[in-house]
């Protein structure tokens, strides 16, 4: 896990996915081959743009590592037309609803005990100030 997270830090910190130069599709995470057409002509592409919650689940049956954070609110998020599954944060079960406007933030995802590494990655939170301010 130490080296896996390190190898993938750009994906995880900056939502770097793939854009296929052959078929034009964009997907997450980064892969050297296009998962749609198999082409090798894939470039790194940062996922950007408006993010919206497609669907979500409030996960109570979590692993021991996630006990501090339970329930975990897991979302399927559409960001700029690309769907990703990621954790939501700064939202309570009573506040979350499909269709809500989101934005990416950097958060802890897994902490390897008291002495191990802290693994950071992008999560999504409700966009600050609703759909207007709080952005670019």
């Amino acid at each position: 896990m130490i080296t896996r997270h390190w190898r993938r830090r750009h994906n995880l910190y900056k939502l770097v996915g793939s854009r296929c130069r052959s078929c034009g599709r964009v997907f997450y995470p980064y892969s050297q081959r296009c998962i749609y057409c198999g082409s090798r002509e894939v470039e790194q592409a940062r996922l950007e743009g408006d993010a919206r919650l497609v669907s979500y689940s409030i996960v109570y049956s979590v692993s021991d590592e996630a006990k501090y954070e339970a329930p975990v609110i897991l979302g399927m998020v559409d960001i700029g037309g690309v769907k990703v599954i990621a954790e939501l944060t700064d939202v309570s079960p009573g506040e979350v609803e499909a269709g809500m406007s989101l934005e990416p933030v950097l958060r802890r995802v897994t902490v390897n005990g008291e002495s191990g590494l802290i693994y950071y990655a992008v999560k999504f939170r409700p966009r600050l100030g609703g759909s207007g301010s709080g952005g670019d």
Binding site: R4, R8, L12, F27, Y28, P29, I35, V54, S55, Y56, S57, I58, V59, Y60, S61, V62, S63, D64, E65, A66, K67, E69, P71, V72, L74, G75, M76, K83, V84, I85, A86, E87, P93, A98, V109, T110, Y119, A121
Partner: protein
């Protein structure tokens, strides 16, 4: 030609008193006895979560002696929740090619060696650990997302969704090998404890251990023939699909067998991969047996328990018979074999001639389909 000449199963349960070896031995002994053979020349072991829970590698090598077959050829197959049917594909290939004459296929898995919090962490490995599985998805988080998506997309309420677990429990109640042998109402399933809202405890497979085994033989011996086994790999995540509820790898595997929707409707009995309530509906709608958004109502109207369409999961399915991850596909095959022989000790599909097993990993990273025919 490949035939199934013997089957054996253990009841799925929290087998605290039995390890991987004891479970495998129990199922394998029953299958070999049922087949009435003295020996086999190849052992195929299908297992998945045991690599994390038990930690034993080279399972075929380490199990062979304890099963009484030291010296036979052996190989282990791991394809997550679809390991059982993946094992069948390997066994089929060995027999059809003439490499082996008799193969013992043992599906075995342990899920109860650790407390639930650790087991959920192991089960996260069924999903893409470089993608979705990097997050704290639990064992049911993605299922929860898909279930809510389905309910919102098609305007199906929670209670209607619960028709599936109610039917599965009714079937499992009379299956002596099932883990959850009690009936529940849709109301009770819908209002049970949430695991990954909207998924409740009663929408999910239970955590249990088990083993099932088959003896397969080349030639025309045995009452049941393995007509075809096919598979396809799919996207790492349902998020990669345009329609996350449509399982393209399952469509492709079925197409490889050459089964049209009309052909599927003529199948007598199916054992499908209902890991969660939503998985069952996704499978039915991907196959075209139910129209999109209609599967829960079709189930409620009795279409899949004698109402004209194939009878689904008379065993009780993953939901209620149980789902010892890597062993499940072998259970499906053993149950279908007994159905085609007219010997299934639970809900029986009289006169069944053709049975179909469908097994997925996750929501279709792999899909396997096996067609069995009574001889």
């Amino acid at each position: 030609m490949v035939g199934i000449i013997g089957v054996g199963m253990t009841r799925i349960n929290r087998h605290y008193g039995k390890g991987l070896r004891e479970l495998a031995l129990e199922a394998a002994s029953s299958a070999v006895e049922d087949a009435g053979v003295n020996g086999v020349d190849f052992i195929v072991v299908a297992s998945s979560l045991s690599y994390k829970q038990v930690g034993q590698l080279d399972l075929a090598g380490h199990l062979a002696s304890y099963l009484g077959y030291r010296g036979s050829r052996g190989i282990a197959v791991e394809s997550g929740e679809a390991s059982g049917l993946a094992g069948l594909m390997v066994a089929y290939g060995l027999l059809a090619s003439g490499v082996a004459d008799k193969v013992l296929l043992v599906g075995v898995d342990k899920l109860t060696e650790y407390n639930s919090g650790e087991t959920y962490s192991h089960l996260e490995g069924l999903y893409d650990v470089e993608g979705d599985g990097f997050y704290n998805i639990g064992h049911a988080g993605i299922a929860g997302i898909l279930m809510r998506l389905y309910m919102n997309e098609y305007g199906v309420d929670r209670l209607t969704m619960a028709n599936w677990p109610a039917l599965m429990h009714a079937n499992a109640k009379v299956n002596p090998y099932a883990m959850l042998r009690f009936a529940i109402t849709p109301e009770k399933a819908a209002s049970a404890m949430p695991l990954a809202d909207p998924i409740t405890l009663m929408d999910s497979y239970p955590i249990g251990d088990g083993a099932a085994a088959l003896v397969l033989a080349r030639g025309d011996s045995g009452d049941v023939e393995v007509s075809r086994v096919e598979s396809s790999t799919g996207y790492p995540s349902p998020a990669h699909r345009d329609d996350p509820l449509f399982i393209e790898s399952l469509r492709d595997a079925v197409a490889r067998i050459g089964l049209s929707r009309e052909d599927l409707e003529k199948i007598d009995v199916m054992e499908i991969h209902d890991s969660f309530t939503i998985t069952a509906y996704m499978i039915l709608e991907t196959l075209g047996l139910s129209d999109k958004g209609r599967a829960p109502r079709d189930v409620a109207e009795g279409r899949y328990n004698g109402g004209g369409a194939p009878v689904l999961n008379p065993s009780g399915g993953l939901k209620a018979r149980g789902h010892p991850i890597g062993a499940t596909g072998v259970y499906q095959l053993a149950e279908l074999t007994l159905q085609l022989r007219g010997e299934f000790p639970g809900v029986r599909v009289d006169g069944a001639k053709r049975g179909l097993a469908i097994s997925l990993n996750g929501f279709g990273s792999s899909s396997y389909v096996a067609l069995l025919t009574a001889r």
